[in-house]
Structures are given as C-alpha cells and as structure tokens.
Symmetry: C2
Subunit: 188 residues, 2 copies
C-alpha cells in the first residue's frame, strides 16, 4: 500500500514501472476502484492537503516522487508544466465521466465489454498488441472497478468465451477475438 485516503498529501508521484490501483472505501468495507495507473501516469495530483483516495500497488512498482512543495515551486518557474498537468487533469475528468456512465447505466455485459475494449485501446496506444490483453488486476479488482461482484465478472467472461468473443490463454491473458461485436456490446 502506497498511501491511504486521509493521509497528509506530501508527495506527488509519477509511475515509471509497474501498475497501481486507486480506490475509495465505505466504512463497512465496500470498495470502488476509480482507476488503474500505468507507467507515465501521475498519482496524487488532485490532492490538496490530504489524499482523497487510497493507492495500492498491483505489481512491483517504481515511481518518481516529488514533494508537493517542490512541485508548486516548479509551476512558478515553468508555466508550461502546469499547462500540461491541467490538460492531464481534464483528460482524467473526461474518463471519469465515461466511467460514471458505465457505472450508472450499463449492464454487466456492457461493463465488461467496455472494460476490455478500453484496456485494448490503452495497450494499443502504448504500442502493445491490440487484441492480446495482459490483465494486471484480479477478478476482484475488476469487480470493484465496474461496480459488480467477482462472481458476475467471472460469469460474464465465461459467457463471452462461450460466444467466441474472447479466448483465455491463462487467468491474466485474454485475447479479443471479435472486437467489433465487442464494441457493439459496450454500447459506446
């Protein structure tokens, strides 16, 4: 675990290798994962005095740590740095709104399809195989990201397998077989 919701937000990180999940918890333990970070992503930017979410490594992780005070000084020196981070925050906001649509209005099948397609696009944009997905998260993580239970995630993926939409080499290796039909299921 990297830090917890409520911890004083002294640092901003830039992930250089590995993968991180950020999430919020309810008092009774229910969890909502709000994002999976990949190398290049920033962590802790939105925080003011305290982090508003918890962050936990999914794999071994390397990151660049900046004291928040230093960052503020850099903003004064290099306005285009702040400009870039502003863009990044806006991009995240757009993604967050997509995720709200997913959480509030999509069925389990649509959620899983959207998730797999987005993961494929993300991997493609970093130069990976477009249809060969390497999942860095467990079924439980996927469930808590999509607002489902582990069982529903598992069942839905089994169904997709039976329908020939995906195939599964191992627990963490998924292949998208019919991406177009997958995007239809995603409804967006």
């Amino acid at each position: 675990m990297l830090f917890h919701e409520g911890d004083s937000a002294e640092s901003v990180f830039n992930l250089t290798s590995g993968s991180i999940k950020i999430y919020k918890l309810l008092p009774d333990g229910r969890r909502q994962i709000t994002g999976f970070l990949m190398p290049g992503d920033f962590l802790g930017l939105a925080a003011k005095s305290a982090y508003s979410y918890s962050a936990e490594a999914s794999t071994a992780v390397e990151a660049c740590r900046f004291p928040r005070s230093r960052l503020d000084a850099l903003f004064g020196q290099f306005p285009q740095l702040e400009h870039r981070l502003f863009q990044i925050a806006n991009d995240e906001l757009v993604l967050a709104q997509d995720q709200m649509l997913l959480l509030g209005r999509k069925s389990a099948g649509e959620k899983i399809a959207s998730f797999l397609v987005r993961l494929a696009e993300r991997q493609e944009s970093r130069g990976g195989e477009p249809d060969h997905l390497a999942l860095t998260m467990t079924r439980g993580d996927i469930a808590d990201y999509l607002g489902l239970t582990i069982e529903t995630v598992s069942r839905t993926m089994s169904q997709f397998k039976k329908q020939g939409l995906i195939s599964q080499k191992s627990l963490t290796e998924i292949e998208l077989i019919d991406r177009d039909q997958m995007m239809d299921r995603a409804e967006s």
Copy 2:
C-alpha cells in the same frame, strides 16, 4: 439545450445565474447526468476539440461566454488564472470519484441520502438555509444522476418521509429533519 456531445468546443462558459445539467447518452437513449452546475461554475473547460458531454439548462440561465482561443491567450498573460482553473479541475476530479463510489457501490437509500446531504452542504456553502433544500431538477434528473429509475427515487423519498427524515413542502422544496441520521444512511 446549450450544446451536444460531439459539438465542436468553441466556447467556455461561466454560469452567472440559473442551473445547468451536463450528461452523457448511450445510443439507445439511456442517460447519465454527470453534474448539476450552479452560478459560478464553469462549463466546457475539460473539452478539447469537441465537447465530451451535452449540456442543458434546467432553468432560465445567464452565463459568460469566452471563445476558447481567447482563453488560451489569457493563460499566457495570467498564469494564476490557469493555476485557479487547474485547482477547479482537481476539485471536480475529487467529486467525480465520490460519485463513482456512489454509483458503483451504494444502495438506492444511500444514494438518495448522499445526494440530499451533498445538496444541503452545497447550498449551505453558498449561504442558504442548511436544511431547507430547493430542488432545481426533476425526479427524472435525480434518477439519471444517481443511476436509478424515477420510481425508485420517488419510493425512496416517500420512505424517508414516512421515517421522519425529511418533509416535503412542495415537489421542489425538501426539508432535512434529521441530518445526522441522514448522513449515517449516506455511509460516507
């Protein structure tokens, strides 16, 4: 309607009076409202070339319109303006994550309770009566904001009324009677 998802994003607005809802639609018409804007709020900031959501007035509205090109020029001139907008974007991101937790993990009762409490806090922070809520949105809007149906919103509020948590002077006027117990139901 002010603009539609996909429209070219020529303007940024600052709402001066009235209230606006922003939302995303699925091809089949399902709708997710991602925010209700109140005077002082910005609209269209996150957009790059095209708006990523639609915006619609809930009441009569007055707003300040900036051409996007002008705004970019202002950033060069007044770096602290961009700094302020960066802060605002970060605050919105924090709210968006709260909303994801709500949509993904809260029950209908918890959603409605959270919604009413947040509305009360928002109104309080603008100097209104803390327990006397003036709803600017319909039951349908509330449903599409919370990922519920109109009927569930209505039923849940009736239940709260029966339990003495709220009282209803008219359709748009709600009074929070037991705010503490309300916050307990909100689970956050």
